[in-house]
Subunit: 509 residues, 2 copies
């Protein structure tokens, strides 16, 4: 009964009120009952419904400001299950109430997938307090971490034991492993180690019914039925809540070297990549592409950084090689590759970092591109992938289409060429205000880029996920057969549409 007036009406842009008593969800008497049950479960410190909740309500890029009914912060899996059960029961009693749950980790996602919408009907379920490493099994090369563990803390823990946890991305100091799993995060080491999905052996999950699936397996082989693990990974909290994971560790390499190469064209970069695969095998752990304009922005805005070799080349490549033997051996192997590359004219010049500090500086240049482009002014961002063999042609064709539509645009093109994944961003023409450019041209540019990606058999979201930002695009570009199956699975595992509704797949709320 308590939620019977909860099917709200939408007034103007952001106000939602009860259709019967004109109360907002937060002021509705029913809400107090819900909050009281959650408080009993978690303690009053862990149920936040007043004060400044913006760090949970606003997304990382500050594109959307949501409004949470409450932020709840369970401290263990049983508490997560309890929260889901309370919400599920109330939702079942009052299907019209619209109450739902948005799981959240470090809130560093780039597609508005882990913040509440504006309805005020959503509970943010923050996993941040669940941040223990539960177990390290050195012989099995596994580490079991709770969802709220900061990625960097897992990397550090592995390192302290002499192992590598290879997931690495810009937000690693803030993002959580639960969020990485929820979005199947990529990063700079995918070329060798795969995305987050490939680094996970087992999961603990609270289902949409509030049951706990104890799937924390350290097994490298287990063919006992459907692959539930990979279904939850990348589902962005829409099927349940990942509460812990068993992750793969790798032996630390004996040495790691970086080279920075100027290449005469994108085709040459792809040739260099093939050569590096053949010469370095699994030792090739990074292959990043950076366009001249992207590097120009770093040079312009981050003047303390030295950006090598970019003035005379349309693209530069940052190549990382990991060796199991020694630094001396690594040097020989890398040199061998660079000599071959020069002979085959797929590289015009190169430098090799002669120390760890120098290598970090090179990576720092690469990782500073997002900051540099932000300082230049907002741009239109993409996170796309095409087969590696199609990258050069894709860029040539798409550059031309965008230039034809908006003469003078500047391409901030960089990314993980080894995975065919480009952050193919579009900056306003020098003469145009960045904010106006976005306002007037964002939809058009997205359309041109996504149409082209689609024509090249690519993906409109390579490593960032779907969230709220790309659900409509998915409807346009994803196969109807696949969308139908996704909807059927969502309906089967979360028939109440309780978990992060409207993200990834759209079902009626």
């Amino acid at each position: 009964m308590i939620f019977e007036f909860f099917h709200v009406k939408h007034v103007g842009c952001v106000r939602f009120v009860c259709a019967a008593c004109n109360n907002s969800p937060m002021n509705h008497p029913a809400t107090q009952t819900l909050l009281s049950e959650l408080t009993t479960l978690l303690g009053c410190d862990q149920v936040l419904s007043e004060g400044d909740l913006s760090s949970w309500e606003q997304d990382w890029r500050k594109r959307c400001n949501g409004r949470a009914l409450a932020v709840v912060r369970p401290g263990c899996t049983e508490e997560v299950a309890g929260v889901v059960r309370v919400c599920s029961r109330l939702r079942a009693q009052h299907p019209e109430c619209g109450l739902s749950i948005v799981p959240q980790g470090g809130n560093t996602g780039l597609v508005v997938g882990s913040t509440p919408d504006e309805s005020g009907q959503q509970i943010v379920l923050s996993l941040q307090r669940m941040n223990s490493v539960r177990e390290v099994d050195v012989e099995n090369l596994t580490l079991t971490a709770e969802a709220g563990c900061i990625l960097q803390s897992i990397q550090d823990r592995a390192l302290a034991l002499g192992f590598l946890f290879p997931l690495s991305l810009a937000a690693e100091g803030s993002c959580t492993i639960g969020g990485n799993l929820g979005t199947n995060a990529g990063g700079t080491q995918v070329l060798r180690f795969g995305s987050t999905r490939d680094l996970c052996l087992g999961l603990e999950v609270v289902t949409a019914q509030g049951d706990i699936w104890h799937g924390l397996s350290g097994l490298r082989k287990d063919n006992t039925g459907y692959d539930l693990r990979n279904l939850f990974i990348g589902s962005e909290g829409t099927l349940g809540v990942i509460t812990a994971a068993t992750l793969k560790l790798y032996p630390l390499p004996a040495a790691q070297l970086c080279a920075w190469a100027a290449v005469p064209s994108l085709e040459a970069a792809v040739t260099l990549l093939g050569l590096a695969h053949r010469c370095l095998g699994a030792g090739l752990t990074g292959f990043e592409l950076m366009g001249q304009f992207a590097l120009h922005l770093v040079d312009k805005h981050l003047t303390r950084l030295r950006v090598p070799l970019f003035r005379s080349a349309p693209f530069c490549v940052l190549l990382e090689y990991s060796d199991d033997e020694s630094e001396e051996h690594a040097g020989h192997r890398l040199e061998h590759l660079l000599v071959l590359a020069q002979e085959q004219s797929c590289m015009t010049d190169a430098i090799v970092a002669s120390s760890l500090t120098q290598a970090r500086q090179l990576w720092h240049v690469r990782e500073s591109i997002p900051l540099a482009q932000a300082q230049e002014g907002q741009n239109i961002k993409h996170d796309i992938s095409v087969p590696v063999s199609g990258v050069a042609e894709f860029v040539r064709v798409t550059d031309a289409l965008i230039e034809a539509a908006i003469p003078g645009v500047q391409m901030v093109n960089f990314g993980h060429l080894g995975d065919g994944n480009l952050h193919y961003n579009v900056q306003a023409p020098a003469s145009m205000d960045a904010a106006l450019f976005l306002r007037d041209h964002e939809d058009l540019v997205h359309r041109i880029v996504f149409d082209s990606v689609h024509a090249f058999g690519g993906s409109i979201s390579a490593e960032h996920g779907v969230g709220s930002l790309k659900t409509d695009d998915l409807t346009r570009y994803k196969s109807p057969v696949a969308l139908h199956m996704m909807g059927a699975i969502k309906q089967a595992l979360d028939p109440q549409n309780l978990m992060n509704p409207g993200r990834v797949v759209k079902l009626p709320r």
Copy 2:
């Protein structure tokens, strides 16, 4: 109407007849209509309902003899979709008819998952005619193959182009890539390259509704929704029919060396594995364990093979190292490892294959264990996995439990230690007839082994799948929460229970 009498009654052990007209499914007039529609679709040569169909009806290990309503052999994806649509429509018109589809590749599965049951109501859908390699994309390191391609032909095609397709298993000369994908097959290279799942980037699938999902992506990153690819991989034909796949290729190593080491204990073998991981990194491409009795059987029954070092050691290890540089370099690295291993007493003796021929001979010994044990007489087979760190304790505990239950049993223990995956087989005591042993003790031995696997957090099917043989065991050992989700997914994607019913998950037929 045509199928209205098809809800059959079961007479005795293997005869099914129509409840109304006492006809068997094959003689029922309705069947003729179905066959006629399928013949129109595929041509009469590709719809087999008479003569000796045993090569499709009997499973690889000859444990079960099924009876097919017909064997159909479509030649392209559209024909597969057509077959599914015809069957789905008839099934929808006459839900009581029990008609269903069993997809089949090379019919080399080990868990009776791809042969028809005894009802005579099942169509075997053989993919063998769909055996083209559709595309090789050298720059993208991918190969797109139809489901009916023999695994070895894919390996050979890759090799001819200078690449490695690393999936490798005993049945590679007969099994198809569709079957490998359907069962998520493992094999000897999982340690480095993962199971079949890890080698696949995209799928083409005919759904249970007869729609075609064009998911043949060569993308290494694609985060646009739920992971349908991995859901179909390992689903053993119960959710749809895999008709083609885009597979990963790897550069060929410059050299590959094998060592055969005698180890003083299982604990020592695990220590040696850890050492090999640290010294060889991704170069460690195989780590096989063989127990003394298993090797004794090879020595006894395959007298032309020379089995090294097994008389004085409880276990031997076959270790494969792949090097991107040269044979000379590979030799140094392997020697370095073996010296360390001897210093740390995790190895008592070792030989290194000095030629490709010798390496093949060592692998041949390992691969001959199944044949040797068959010549000794049938035994009770398992395909289990536990975390690598638990293998030694698992074997000690379980050996003791079995010996206590059936004194004198002989353990044929071998497998992929690098993955924690053992073929932990149990041979009759020397004094007991093998057939009687199986008849009297198979259930008991399975129970002991599976209970122990469960207690060690392991899997009762590491790489062979579930099929018909292990569905009941799954009900016993798999988490009810996981089973519930699996059932919900099956119901969502195949609400008619048309695809390979009774395998993996049991729903009412």
